[in-house]
C-alpha cells in the first residue's frame, strides 16, 4: 500500500517539535520508530499532512539513574535497548522482561518506549509493567513541562492525556522497594509475538506469606492499560493462601471492564484475568520472582 504524500519535519529540539505540533494541530503527528504510525498510515486510519520526527533530538534515548534512586528512560529508547540495558535489568528486571516480550525482534529494535505509550494501545507489554512500577511520564509542551502518573496518562481506547502540542520526553520509574518480587505473564492465543489478550504485571513484597505491598498492572483487557486497585487492596495485609488469592482474583476479574474483539469475548477476557491472576500471585508466593 502506498503512503499518501505528507510533509516530513525533522526536529533537533523538543520545543521545536512542540511548536510544529501547535502550528499544525490535528494535521500533524509525531513519529519516532514508526512501528505504529506507518501501518496506521498505510491502512489510512491516520492521514497526517505533517510528520514531526524527534529521532534526531539528542539525549532522548538515554537510560540513566534518576535522583530518587530509580530510572529515567528516554522516550526514544527502543524496547530492545531497554530489554538489554544492564542498568534496567539490575534495577527493574520486570520492565526489561516486559520489553523483551514486545512483538518481533524487528519491532523491538525500531519501536520506542515513548511511541508505545503514546499509541495508547491496551495490549502494550511495557504499560502493565510500568503501571505496576508506578512510573510517571514527562510531557514537554510549548508552555513547559508536566509530570503525569502513568495511571492517569491512559484515558481510554487509544486515548492518552497528552495534549496535541506535547511531546513525551521520558519515563520516570521509582525504585523498587527492598525485597520486591515481580512477574509479567502474557497470554497471546496464537503466537508469542502477538499482542497480549491478557498481560498481567505484578510487583509484591512478602514477609512469609503475608503481603506487605502489591502493585498490579493489566493490559489487553480493558480499553486501556489499567491498575487493579481493588485487587491490590485485597492482597495487601493478607496471608496469601489459595483461598485469599482466589478471592482477590475474583475481585480483579470484577473490577475490569473487558472489551471484546475477534480474539476473545469480554467474558473470556474476564475469565482469563482470573486465571492469570491466580497463576501470577501463586507463583510469586511459592517460587519467588521469575518471568
Amino acid at each position: 500500500m502506498i503512503l499518501r504524500p505528507f510533509e516530513y519535519v525533522e526536529c533537533a529540539r523538543v520545543h521545536e517539535a512542540a511548536d510544529v505540533l501547535r502550528q499544525y494541530g490535528e494535521r500533524a503527528r509525531i513519529i519516532a520508530g514508526g512501528t505504529a504510525m506507518v501501518p496506521l498510515m498505510k491502512h489510512q486510519l491516520l492521514r497526517p499532512d505533517v510528520l514531526v520526527s524527534v529521532l534526531r533530538v539528542p539525549g532522548l534515548a538515554h537510560i540513566t539513574r534518576n535522583g530518587e534512586g530509580g530510572l529515567r528512560i528516554g522516550a526514544l529508547a527502543t524496547h530492545w535497548d531497554i530489554s538489554r540495558s544492564r542498568v534496567v535489568r539490575e534495577q527493574h528486571p520486570l520492565l526489561a522482561y516486559a520489553c523483551s516480550r514486545v512483538g518481533s525482534p524487528t519491532i523491538r529494535s525500531m519501536g520506542t518506549l515513548g511511541g508505545n505509550l503514546c499509541y495508547g494501545e491496551s495490549a502494550s507489554d511495557p504499560s502493565p509493567a510500568l503501571l505496576a512500577l508506578r512510573a510517571r511520564v514527562r510531557l514537554q509542551g510549548a508552555d513547559g513541562e508536566r509530570i503525569v502518573p502513568l495511571e492517569e496518562f491512559f484515558t481510554g481506547f487509544y486515548a492518552t492525556a497528552i495534549a496535541p502540542d506535547e511531546v513525551l520526553t521520558s519515563v520516570e520509574v521509582p525504585p523498587l522497594p527492598a525485597g520486591s518480587r515481580w512477574k509479567y505473564l502474557k497470554w497471546a492465543p496464537r503466537a508469542q509475538e502477538d499482542k497480549a489478550l491478557v498481560g498481567l504485571a505484578a510487583v509484591v513484597v512478602l514477609e512469609g506469606r503475608r503481603c506487605q505491598m502489591a502493585r498490579l498492572g493489566l493490559g489487553g483487557v480493558a480499553t486501556c492499560p489499567v491498575v487493579l486497585r481493588q485487587a491490590e487492596r485485597s492482597l495487601e495485609g493478607a496471608d496469601l493462601h489459595a483461598r485469599q488469592i482466589a478471592e482477590a482474583a475474583d475481585m480483579a476479574a470484577a473490577e475490569v471492564e473487558p472489551v471484546e474483539d475477534l480474539q476473545g469475548s469480554a467474558d473470556y477476557r474476564r475469565d482469563m484475568v482470573r486465571v492469570w491472576f491466580r497463576r501470577v500471585v501463586s507463583e510469586l508466593v511459592t517460587q519467588g520472582q521469575h518471568p
Binding site: R29, Q44, L45, R47, G156, F157, Y158, A159, E260, D261
Partner: protein, 152 residues
C-alpha cells in the same frame, strides 16, 4: 453488532411520535452530527464525525426511513463512507418502538445494528462496540431532554 437502549419520556405518546417525524431534530440528538439535509421524501444526507482516541472519521451518510407504524414503531437505515480522516464505510439500521405508559409518559426502545467496513472495521471492532454503546446512550439522553423541553 446490536445495541439496545430504552428510556422513558415524560410526554404523551402523540408528542413523542410527532417529534420522531422531524428527522432533522432527531438526527441532531446523535452526537457528532454536523449537518442533516432532506434529499427526497423520507431520505436524508447526514454528515457525522466520530472520534475515538487518535482515530477520527467524518462519514457522509444517506439515511432513509424504511417503515412506520403510527404510534408504534419507526425503522431507519443508513449507509455511507468516510470523507475525511480514517478510511472506512458504515452501514446501520435502527428500530425505534414506542409504548404509552399509564402515568402519561412514553417508553421508547432503541435497537440499532452497526457494521463498519474497511480497515477501520477490522481494527476497530473493540472501539465500535464501545463507541456505539456510548453514542446510543448519549443519543437517548439527548432525545429525552429535547422532547421534554419541547413538551413543556
Amino acid at each position: 453488532m446490536q445495541i439496545q437502549e430504552t428510556f422513558t419520556v415524560d410526554a404523551p405518546l402523540e408528542v413523542v411520535w410527532g417529534f420522531f417525524q422531524e428527522i432533522e431534530r432527531v438526527a441532531r440528538c446523535v452526537p457528532g452530527v454536523e449537518s442533516v439535509n432532506a434529499v427526497a421524501p423520507d431520505r436524508y444526507r447526514v454528515v457525522v464525525t466520530q472520534k475515538v482516541g487518535f482515530i477520527s472519521a467524518t462519514f457522509e451518510m444517506t439515511t432513509q426511513i424504511d417503515g412506520k407504524a403510527p404510534m408504534q414503531l419507526m425503522s431507519y437505515s443508513s449507509i455511507g463512507k468516510s470523507v475525511k480522516g480514517a478510511v472506512g464505510n458504515l452501514r446501520s439500521t435502527a428500530r425505534v418502538e414506542f409504548e404509552a405508559l399509564l402515568g402519561g409518559g412514553t417508553q421508547v426502545w432503541l435497537t440499532s445494528e452497526v457494521a463498519v467496513g474497511g480497515m477501520l472495521g477490522a481494527l476497530g471492532h473493540k472501539v465500535i462496540a464501545t463507541k456505539s454503546r456510548e453514542i446510543t446512550e448519549t443519543f437517548a439522553r439527548a432525545l429525552r431532554a429535547e422532547i421534554q423541553l419541547a413538551h413543556q
